[in-house]
């Protein structure tokens, strides 16, 4: 197991190196001039050059890259010009918000898409099958920000069921004592039931928005995998042996269909992390997506670089997790090909 992990990490290294290089070039290619922007409205050319020098942007690109990599090895991701804080502390404070939201969205999607996929698989070609397919496809066919805004309009503005889209927590409730940064976990650890409810209420709409988007690939993959498994020999044997529908479906078929579903979950999770940017903008969610977006618009290099690096690392870790999960679910996969 450890060898597997080690080997995977090693294999991911060149990819990460590529990401670092490409991100650096990309941010430097951004049209804005952060020095001009942050010198403020009345700055003269000299003042801007001064700032450029203090930011280290007057050196040539290779030198800048070298400095950047050197700082990276020390764990220094630079400083954000927009918030004025070190990027690392910004990311640490904002990452849990995004992760919590994405995880909840994924959970919701799984809770709906998995049963739908199984249902569709048990009645292939029927109207139920078509309905499931159309429902899940509809969720993924609208731009995610539009879905979000529509949900806010209907459930908050018109019906008043959902709370104000003010972010992670209502303005008048103080957040739980920060242990992990995940509000739900912290609130549970702190034992404050009312707070848990407040947190969940704020999470509801954005998580549903993300979840709608994730339903289709999960349902589709579940259906496909289940169909494949349901037509196999051992299922036929199980049925012939007289086991009831429930046992056949859940204990035998589903477990075996899990593998490709888990892969899809991983892909969907990383895709959602990217789509987070839009949802965070709509719901005023203080996650890293909105952080990076604001930085991108003003050509603030450090946060954009830090954000992309974080995402890339998360992606690597995620793939690693999935590989490990493979081994847990299917012993055959533990044996390296």
């Amino acid at each position: 197991m450890l060898r597997l992990i080690g080997r995977r990490l090693l294999a991911a290294a060149p990819g990460l190196a590529g990401v670092i290089a490409v991100t650096f070039l990309l941010t430097r290619a951004l049209p804005g001039d952060p020095a001009a922007f942050f010198a403020g409205p009345a700055a003269t050319r000299e003042a801007i050059e001064e700032i450029r020098r203090s930011l280290g942007l007057d050196k040539n690109l290779t030198v800048q890259f070298g400095l950047y990599v050197r700082d990276l090895t020390r764990g220094d991701l630079g400083k954000s010009l927009t918030t004025g804080q070190p990027v690392r502390s910004d990311l640490i404070s904002r990452l849990p918000a995004s992760l919590e939201l994405t995880a909840c969205g994924l959970l919701l999607a799984v809770a709906v898409a998995l049963p739908l996929g199984v249902l569709a698989a048990t009645r292939p070609g029927s109207w139920v099958d078509h309905l499931c397919r159309m429902l899940t496809t509809a969720g993924v066919s609208l731009p995610i920000f539009f879905t979000g805004l529509l949900l806010v309009y209907i459930f908050y503005f018109l019906l008043g069921w959902a709370p104000a889209p003010l972010g992670r927590l209502d303005a008048f409730i103080s957040p739980p004592r920060s242990i992990t940064g995940f509000f739900l976990v912290d609130a549970v650890l702190g034992g404050d039931f009312g707070e848990i409810r407040a947190i969940l209420r704020q999470l509801a709409l954005p998580a549903i928005t993300l979840g709608l988007f994730a339903m289709a690939p999960i349902a589709r993959m579940t259906r496909a995998a289940m169909l494949g498994v349901l037509s196999s020999d051992f299922i036929r044997t199980a049925r012939a042996s007289g086991l009831d529908r429930r046992t056949v479906l859940v204990t035998y078929a589903f477990r075996n269909a899990m593998l490709p579903v888990v892969t899809t979950l991983g892909m969907v999770f990383s895709f959602l992390l990217g789509a987070n940017v839009l949802v965070e903008k709509v719901f005023a969610w203080p996650g890293i997506g909105s952080y990076a977006l604001e930085a991108l618009i003003v050509s603030d290099y450090a946060p954009v670089q830090g954000f992309i690096l974080t995402m890339a690392s998360l992606y690597v870790l995620l793939n690693l997790l999935i590989d490990v999960l493979y081994g847990v679910i299917d012993p055959r996969a533990r044996i390296e090909a």
Binding site: P14, G18, V22, F146
Partner: protein, 281 residues
């Protein structure tokens, strides 16, 4: 040919949804081609006296903030959106499959190098990469196409590569080699056509995703330039009018977008059935 048609008709009959999707696709293509000639108003002509009017007989889809007719804009936008998605996906397909097929066939360092480049692209959160490319290069239609193409390349490359690796040692390839065909010719004439079926499915799924990508870029201000009508940017504009009650500004382009993406997704599923019933999902 007739066998294919018969099979096609069987599949379409089996699955009415696919038939519907196909009809919708044809409609979209027709609108894209002939749309600008059919619309009642000039999509760029403002008429501020008629601004923000709800759907009526004069304006079926209502008007926007500058009094432009929304029906005309939605129809004319079909051409741009289809163009963006088709171009982006075609480029991704061409580059990706070429890369994947080459890597899969030759193996060794070529494969490893291509694999590393793909890993780099895939490690980025895709939408963010598109954002970065468009922000860096400027928001022209061409750049949006390139950005969308780049982030889609890995899908085709991976698919092509795995298909080629499966068939690399097959009998018919051996035969082609013995007959005197050289590497590139084998790649192009023998291996590649066999990889097409699963990639067709991927293409149609990606078409929908490309349009959504462009819409997302528009929402954050990196979309096409005003006053060009494009579904994504019209939805982004309409989003600002939801709360004040001018629902038509966002709904009609949103519905058009949704229908198009829906259509492509269902088409993809249907194509999968058509091409390989064994792999029907």
């Amino acid at each position: 040919m007739t066998a294919l048609l018969r099979h096609g008709r069987y599949v379409l009959g089996e699955n009415p949804v696919t038939g519907l999707a196909f009809a919708l696709f044809v409609l979209l293509v027709v609108l894209a081609a002939a749309g600008p000639g059919l619309v009642p108003y000039d999509p760029l002509a403002s008429n501020t006296a008629e601004a923000l009017k709800p759907p009526s007989r004069a304006h079926w889809f209502g008007t926007d903030q500058l009094g432009r007719d929304l029906l005309s804009r939605v129809v004319v936008a079909t051409r741009l959106d289809l163009t963006i998605s088709i171009c982006a996906v075609m480029i991704a397909f061409a580059v990706g499959s070429a890369a994947g097929v080459t890597g899969g066939f030759y193996g060794g360092w070529t494969d490893r190098l291509i694999g590393r480049v793909l890993d780099t692209i895939m490690a980025f959160p895709l939408f963010v990469l598109a954002m970065g490319i468009v922000a860096a290069l400027g928001n022209t239609v061409a750049n949006i196409v390139y950005a969308t193409a780049i982030i889609n390349v890995p899908f085709y490359a991976r698919l092509a590569r795995s298909e080629v690796m499966v068939r690399r040692e097959a009998g018919f390839i051996e035969a082609a080699r013995l007959a005197g065909n050289r590497g590139p010719r084998i790649l192009a004439m023998h291996l590649f056509p066999n990889c097409l079926p699963p990639m067709m499915v991927q293409i149609s799924l990606n078409l929908g995703w490309a349009i959504l990508n462009a819409a997302g870029l528009s929402f954050i201000g990196l979309g096409v330039r005003p006053p060009t009508p494009e579904w994504g940017i019209m939805v982004a504009e309409g989003a600002a009018f939801i709360v004040s009650g001018e629902w038509w500004i966002g709904l009609f382009p949103g519905a058009a977008l949704m229908l198009a993406v829906f259509c492509f997704n269902l088409l993809g599923d249907g194509l999968r059935d058509l091409i390989d019933p064994r792999r029907r999902t």
